[in-house]
């Protein structure tokens, strides 16, 4: 028996809407749960003081600083490399067996578990190159980890730029590099920013790769050779060692709010400066 289209239509709306609602509810539940358990611990002192007694008391200021410095360093390293690779693959080479192999390679790299990157970073940056547990080792390791994401999102964004824009630019006497710089990259920027945001989220929340390479020092870092602890690592250590559940959830609450803040800022910047001429 065939169900009338108007009922299947209603059923589809109900199921799709239900799926959306369920996703939102789960997300909301997690955020509210963490905030409800964590916010009582979040005071001005918590945000502005150094931890005391392994984090049982005191604040998390150096941890907040570490949480922002490490991903920023990682993106500062990975962005020029990733965007450069993507531009080269899309604008300067033809689609050949070699570019397909490179693309397959980046896809494989994207699927490697972060602990493997942590292990590699520990052996290569920490031990062989002698950078020790440091911002530098952690930043380089996270950079390798997010590189595939940046390359692929940038590639997709560049491919989405209409070819006619390139032809117009060439017809006005631009070289390929000038076309990339003035036409292709500005128009691919929203896609590139998306890649940065994904990478930022992934590296802010990373623990395994970070513990192995950046260490977990609670001091305020003063150079790239200093070990740092990120909020995700701090939460993990506080909770695992049973040092302080209140401060662990306090850290988690700050982390969630920080990620939210970074995302909102990024969207604001995009709307303010990027969408102007489209």
């Amino acid at each position: 028996m065939r169900i009338a289209p108007k009922y299947t239509q209603r059923l589809a709306v109900a199921l799709l809407g239900g799926a959306t609602l369920l996703t939102l509810l789960v997300l909301l539940f997690i955020i509210l749960f963490v905030l409800q358990k964590g916010l009582p611990a979040v005071t001005w002192q918590f945000l502005s003081q150094a931890p005391r007694d392994m984090g049982r008391s005191g604040g998390i200021l150096p941890v907040i600083v570490g949480t922002f410095l490490l991903p920023l360093l990682a993106i500062a390293i990975a962005l020029p490399l990733g965007v450069g690779t993507a531009v080269y693959l899309t604008e300067y080479t033809r689609e050949t067996r070699l570019t397909r192999v490179i693309r397959f390679g980046t896809d494989c790299l994207a699927g490697i578990p972060s602990i493997i990157f942590g292990l590699f970073g520990f052996i290569f940056f920490v031990v062989i190159l002698g950078f020790g547990w440091s911002l530098l080792s952690g930043g380089l390791t996270l950079a390798l980890m997010i590189l595939p994401t940046i390359i692929r999102t940038t590639e997709e964004a560049i491919r989405a730029v209409p070819n006619t824009f390139r032809e117009v630019s060439f017809s006005l006497g631009a070289t390929r590099w000038e076309t990339v710089l003035h036409v292709v990259l500005p128009n691919a920027l929203p896609g590139i920013v998306t890649g940065i945001m994904l990478s930022l989220g992934r590296s802010i929340g990373e623990t395994a790769a970070v513990i192995f390479t950046a260490g977990s020092a609670l001091r305020m870092p003063t150079s790239v050779y200093d070990s740092v602890r990120t909020m995700a690592v701090h939460f993990y250590l506080l909770a695992r060692e049973g040092l302080s559940n209140e401060n662990a959830y306090g850290t988690a609450a700050v982390l969630i709010l920080a990620v939210l803040g970074v995302n909102l800022t990024a969207y604001w910047i995009m709307n303010r400066f990027v969408g102007r001429h489209t």
């Binding site: 006619t164 824009f165 390139r166 117009v168 006005l172 500005p186």
Partner: protein
């Protein structure tokens, strides 16, 4: 400046290929300076391919190649020593669909001049004004030069594209069916601009609209299936064509 009635572009035995079969076969066509050369013919006759060999835009397609020569002021533009970027500064192009870059009106105009190294603000402002006036767009946009070019109407966008090409102060202007997406009033504005421009520039106008060629072109070439059937003064092409296929096409019996 090249004197009038001398040959600005000499196309000699030109064939163009995207695959094994030529899209253009053995075209020989002299294009006189400071006049409008109209190119007519049905779709797929190679008009656009021909136009894009004149500023080497076909080079961007890796599978394309040509045989024969294209001489600009006597110099072979396909000679390995010829600089493609400087060629495109001398030979400007307006595309079939209005293609403003997603930036402001002023930035669209100054894109080419800036790349050519012009940084002086007063000089750039002057280029913006003169080129927009030549394209009959100045009065409509002079108060919103910094707003997005994407918000202009189709007809305005196409005149902006013409102004953008003029701002490079080229010697030759190639137009690829510039009015195919425009209403009759916008078309009239573009044609008006073109008839004034030919005093200064060499214009090659590809058009699907034979009446447009009849209205503005000094000489007209008829292309059919990649071959140049006939080229003559526009008046003669439309009244006493030598080839019967030309006559059939311009009177609308096919195409």
């Amino acid at each position: 400046m090249t004197p009038p009635n001398s040959i600005k572009i000499a196309v000699e035995s030109l064939s163009a290929f995207y695959g094994p079969d030529p899209s253009l076969r053995n075209i020989t066509l002299p294009i006189p300076a400071r006049s409008i050369m109209g190119i007519i013919g049905p779709s797929g006759s190679g008009k656009t391919t021909f136009l894009r060999t004149l500023n080497r835009l076909n080079d961007l397609k890796p599978e394309s190649r040509i045989e024969g020569r294209v001489l600009l002021d006597g110099q072979d533009i396909y000679h390995p020593a010829f600089d493609v970027v400087s060629l495109r500064k001398r030979v400007g192009m307006v595309f079939a669909l209005p293609m403003p870059l997603p930036m402001s009106i002023a930035d669209n105009i100054t894109y080419g001049p800036r790349l050519a190294g012009i940084r002086n603000r007063a000089r750039l402002d002057n280029l913006i004004e003169t080129s927009l006036k030549s394209a009959f767009l100045w009065d409509e946009v002079k108060n919103r030069l910094s707003s997005s070019a994407m918000r202009l109407s189709g007809g305005q966008q196409q005149r902006l594209c013409l102004a953008r090409t003029l701002a490079m102060e080229p010697e030759v202007i190639l137009l690829d069916e510039p009015c195919s997406g425009l209403d009759p009033i916008s078309t009239a504005r573009i044609e008006e601009a073109l008839t004034l421009l030919k005093n200064q520039y060499t214009v090659v106008l590809v058009t699907n609209n034979t009446k447009q060629a009849a209205r503005v072109a000094d000489r007209t070439a008829f292309f059919l299936m990649g071959e140049l059937v006939e080229v003559d003064e526009t008046r003669r092409i439309f009244t006493v064509p030598r080839d019967s296929r030309t006559g059939d096409y311009v009177t609308g019996r096919f195409g």
